[in-house]
Assembly symmetry: C2
């Protein structure tokens, strides 16, 4: 096809792992972010936007090495600056690291504690796959500078109200809460000091949902051979520590327990150590604050199996999960999985300042929450309607078409003039593809008679499909009608309103 | 300060040319984008978001070379994909190039013409300076697939309504319109074919604002020696061509001309050639459509000195300018400069498909428009108010504080509990720094008596500063009052409303 003499034509395609978003998906995401932002601002969190790039040393765990500067992040070396050295910078991979940098940089002048929320894209240089992107939008809220358990409780309660504002019913999501310190105390009291051993144990507990106690038990001990024949080396924990962990997991399984009841069950497990006991005290204070804020026992539960993958958490951890209306063959609610999470991280800002600054926050992925809403049957309202389309019959009557468009827009009705050069049939097809609720026809006859013909496209489709044979309905909402020109805005307004309610 | 044994601490700082945005500036930007988006959707433009990266070949003019892959853009080489080759990708430097790629990629399934708007950050790898960033937010609207002059007129009229919705008065901005084809015709008719000569001439005309006819004339001829002693080589245009250009510029200077009057003046200049005559026809059709849409002569003017820097424009070009209320010593309105622009670009999509696809659009920088609004005295309303702050006296009464916060939030009042551990004085300072309209005090006495003390912080400041000595005002809006607990929400609501109107 390509002429050898012509310059080569690039192929029009997205970089792998990057997607274009439009239509109902984009509308749904924007609506969700707007509703959650409204809640967060009402709770006293101010908006903050940081730049896409951070210096690589500020991102910390992804310091680029000379051979693979792109490991995990999109990094590049800046041009030499005034001091003559080009520094490595990387696109942010979350919104927490930039907040830590911002808080350290501006701590003197910020109101303390500092509450902020943020949303925006983050970038991960990972292998893309189906539904797995290298760019996605996160929405975070954090409080920096408060060590109070009430700060954790506030974040949790606000996250619940945010999920509700996004459209989830009270029985469709649960936030599970635990504390990293429970494990810290357990390990310390049990003499487990090897970081690798601790990490292996936490990763095993994180799989409780999927493997049950039997599988986790093997991973806490010597190791586990899975069904495919792969062997995973275990944590080799002392028997006493593993027994306490089993008691944790048992209490997590009892859905009838209140938050206080779960804490009681955990407290009865021996070997928590001083740090673990302090963690129970903090969780108890979180419970009191949640109860004071009238957050129900079914909305926020304590669950000592909650671990959270990120290493930087230092205290309370939370995970929001969607509870589907569907049940598995044992009659238990099936989990869609995590739709957000967070926790307390008291050391992130200290990386810059050397001084510990307590912080706690909650984060969710916007696209994933939209998918969760859809799974929960709450995504239907996001149907997108196009503008009313004014049909073009001929150049000479352009003034009449433009008048009609202006009148509709001035009445708050989205409207447009067809701007292609195709005939009547193609214009109707265009209006259909646009999702237009109505088309406006001002032919020469209509203009001469002071009339306008209005085609109700939803009704037209319903009539054509024989969806209704109710004569009264047809009379009330005909597919097409010719009315006085002066009645156009009112007639179209009624059709648009009916389309809005029907969609 | 740094302990030699401790790990090195990174400095908390933004990458150069990247800024954090918060507070009133961010609120103002978001409000502006929301208002403009509402207009664009009412005009039938659908939202589209593309990814941050494009493959470098899709960006076209910034193909990275091996030595300086970062020339102008932030580019990096992707990890090898399944085919084993890592491709160069770059962060988008505008929103037009991604649209051209998207349109070429999806043309089959898009409604035609395709109208979309978009806003989001763009990145330019340039030397940063004061007020000059390497990341900034643009907002664009484009129509792809219509060669009608009405499509240009629609974009221009919509841009005007967008500026109005953003807050600019009808007399505070003007959109100047011309056509690249006027120059194309002029050059063709005058036998000017050298691309460098053409570009030099266009750049000279672009300086008419600053240099006047004398300076431009020198640059169209042999060259110009400026006041600093620098010599700029001229375009060496034939005398006849330069004379026609002078007639153009003369017509531009006459502010009393209507759009049609300007076209008449340009038409009287000889040597436009066939292409120039066709351009006049198109501009005439744009004028008819603008007039049909009731766009005033003062809102959109024709101005043949408008050139626009970007090379890809092929027809109509537009530039929106702020008209300040101030005048210079000759009594003329002083220009703030361009606050947005656009035009027709019929060749961008053809880069991918080989087929010409007409397109036209308008773009503005969000921060720059916010700055323009401020310069025009229309930025004041964006003052940010913090939440009402509930003071913490002691742990035991936490329930009472949390109840107060919940009640206020449920009434739609932004409110928060103080979550630090400082005393009363520091808490009041915190509330002040937050921009809180009121502070709520529930001390032991108030709680026992079923009362609450409410401090109106604006009124308190005014009283303390002796701003008012009006006794009636003091009685009506005291700095501090103790009311029945049941009257808290209503009392605070009135204070917040007064603060909102006063700010």
């Amino acid at each position: 096809m390509t002429d050898a003499a012509a310059p080569p034509r690039p192929e029009a395609r997205n970089p792998r792992g990057f997607a274009d978003r439009r239509g109902p998906d984009l509308i749904a995401e924007r609506r969700l972010v707007a509703r959650v932002s409204e809640v967060y601002e009402r709770w006293g969190f101010e908006p903050l936007e940081t730049g896409a790039f951070e210096y690589a040393d500020a991102l910390g765990k992804f310091l680029p090495d000379a051979d693979r500067p792109n490991e995990g992040v999109f990094a590049l070396q800046d041009d030499p600056d005034a001091e003559g050295h080009g520094q490595w910078m990387a696109l942010r991979y979350d919104l927490t690291a930039p907040l830590a940098r911002f808080a350290a940089q501006n701590w003197e002048t910020l109101p303390k504690p500092f509450r902020r929320y943020a949303f925006g894209p983050v970038w991960r240089n990972e292998k893309p796959g189906p539904g797995r992107f290298r760019e996605f939008v996160q929405c975070d809220a954090d409080t920096v500078g408060s060590d109070r358990p009430e700060a954790d409780a506030e974040i949790i309660a606000m996250a619940c109200e945010g999920l509700r504002a996004a459209g989830l019913g009270a029985d469709q999501a649960v936030v599970r809460v635990s504390s990293r310190k429970l494990f810290d105390g357990l390990f310390e009291a049990g003499g487990v000091t090897d970081p690798v051993q601790k990490l292996t144990a936490l990763r095993a507990i994180d799989k409780f949902d999927r493997l049950g106690w039997e599988g986790v038990s093997a991973l806490l001990g010597e190791g586990r051979l899975d069904e495919s024949g792969d062997y995973t080396k275990g944590a080799n924990l002392p028997i006493g520590v593993a027994a306490t962990l089993e008691a944790f997991l048992a209490s997590a399984g009892d859905a009838g327990l209140t938050r206080a009841g779960t804490l009681d069950a955990v407290a009865r497990a021996s070997g928590l150590g001083a740090i673990g006991e302090a963690a129970l005290e903090e969780l108890s204070a979180i419970d009191r604050a949640l109860t004071a804020m009238k957050v129900g026992e079914g909305t926020v539960r304590f669950d000592p199996t909650i671990v959270r993958g990120l290493e930087y958490y230092t205290g309370a951890v939370f995970e929001a999960e969607l509870l589907m209306d569907t049940t598995d063959d044992k009659g238990r609610a099936v989990r869609f999985g995590s739709i957000g999470g967070g926790g307390r991280y008291d050391d992130l800002v200290a990386r810059f300042t050397g001084e510990r600054l307590p912080a706690t926050g909650f984060s969710f992925g916007v696209s994933r929450l939209v998918a969760a809403l859809r799974a929960a049957g709450r995504g239907g309202e996001a149907a997108m309607r196009g503008p009313v389309v004014v049909i073009v019959f001929g150049e000479a009557d352009m003034q009449h078409y433009l008048d009609a468009v202006s009148e509709l827009r001035n009445a708050g009705v989205a409207a447009e003039l067809y701007l292609g050069r195709a005939g009547m049939k193609a214009q109707m097809k265009y209006a259909d593809r646009r999702g237009a609720p109505a088309a406006i026809m001002l032919g020469g006859d209509e203009i001469a008679a002071g009339k306008v013909t209005i085609k109700d496209l939803d009704a037209g489709r319903a009539l054509a499909a024989g969806v209704t044979d109710n004569d009264a309905w047809k009379a009330e909402r005909p597919g097409q009608q010719t009315v006085d020109r002066g009645a156009m805005v009112a007639t179209v307004g009624a059709i648009v309103e009916a389309a809005r309610q029907g969609s």
